[in-house]
């Protein structure tokens, strides 16, 4: 008998054939003596295997055995999660979060410092006719100096002119001595 027909008989015994094909194979086995003998032999072998199958016993209890399997499944899932590829936006988020915080803090400090420093204004002045005001800043002591002098006189860093013959040219003293 051909091998494929033997497999057909085995499949018929195991109930694995479609209904229409199983009916045809059954009719053929009933007609064919060789097929019938083969079917009987395979059937007895199946029965013997079922009756004499050795039972499997476990050293662990049922609950412990299945808890070990569950634990292994969790470990496998954890390992897959650890090694899973991190998307690019998740990698950037780790650095952008602190960076944005530092930037926000810097902005707040800049605004606070600007508000704490008083604004500077231009100095405005006017002097009587015949006199002029020379203004300069001493950076080392942050001092502003306004020197008032007669427009016709020499600059202040030079010695003043000697007293003239006409006393009325010399200004009266500001100091009460």
């Amino acid at each position: 008998m051909k091998n494929d027909l033997q497999l057909k008989v085995q499949s018929w015994l195991d109930g694995e054939l479609p209904e229409r094909e199983a009916r045809q194979v059954g009719e053929w086995i009933a007609r064919d003596a060789e097929a019938s003998a083969l079917a009987a032999e395979l059937g007895s072998v199946n029965q013997a295997m079922l009756r004499n199958e050795a039972g499997v016993t476990l050293s662990d209890s049922r609950e412990f055995y299945w808890s070990k399997i569950e634990l292994q499944i969790q470990r496998e899932a954890e390992r897959n999660r650890v090694h899973a590829p991190v998307p690019w936006y998740a990698r950037w988020r780790k650095f952008m979060g602190p960076a944005l915080g530092v930037a926000a803090l810097a902005c707040v400090m800049i605004v606070a410092i600007r508000q704490a420093v008083p604004p500077t204004y231009d100095e405005i002045s006017a002097t009587i006719d015949g006199m002029e005001a020379v203004t300069f800043h001493d950076q080392s002591s942050q001092t502003t100096i306004i020197w008032l002098q007669d427009s016709t006189q020499a600059p202040m860093d030079q010695k003043p002119a000697l007293p003239s013959a006409q006393p009325q040219d010399e200004p009266e003293s500001v100091i009460d001595m």
Binding site: E123, M131, K159
Partner: protein
């Protein structure tokens, strides 16, 4: 605003007059660094508390009066009046503890200076 105004006399004479006192060290250092005179004496020291938008007259000497107006925000308007005439008028910023100094030539190769400064929130003691 607590304002302090000091009239200082700059001279090359070692001894000043009867009303002369030593100058504030900071102001003295600035004057020594900037001007040619070797000695500086304090003649008058005036202090005044000037509310915002108000002015006060500070009599520095018989011939010199300083009219100071508090413009607010550390800004002051200074009117230097000499013998009844407005010699100089200006608006300046006074940032403590810095000085603002007005000055000019005086008789006998001397000079006068008026140093102004604010005390911020603290009171300024008069010498």
């Amino acid at each position: 605003m607590n304002l302090e105004a000091r009239l200082v006399w700059g001279t090359n004479d070692e001894q000043g007059g009867p009303n002369c006192k030593p100058v504030d060290p900071e102001l003295a250092a600035t004057l020594h660094r900037t001007f040619k005179w070797s000695h500086y004496f304090e003649i008058t020291n005036q202090v005044a508390a000037i509310p915002e938008k108000q002015s006060r007259d500070l009599r520095m000497s018989q011939r010199c009066t300083l009219r100071v107006k508090n413009l607010g925000g550390s800004r002051v308007e200074i009117n230097c009046i000499g013998q009844g005439k407005e010699v100089h008028k200006g608006a300046y910023t006074l940032t403590p503890p810095s000085w603002l100094v007005l000055g000019g030539n005086d008789t006998n190769n001397t000079a006068w200076f008026i140093g102004l400064r604010t005390g911020g929130g603290r009171a300024i003691t008069k010498n």
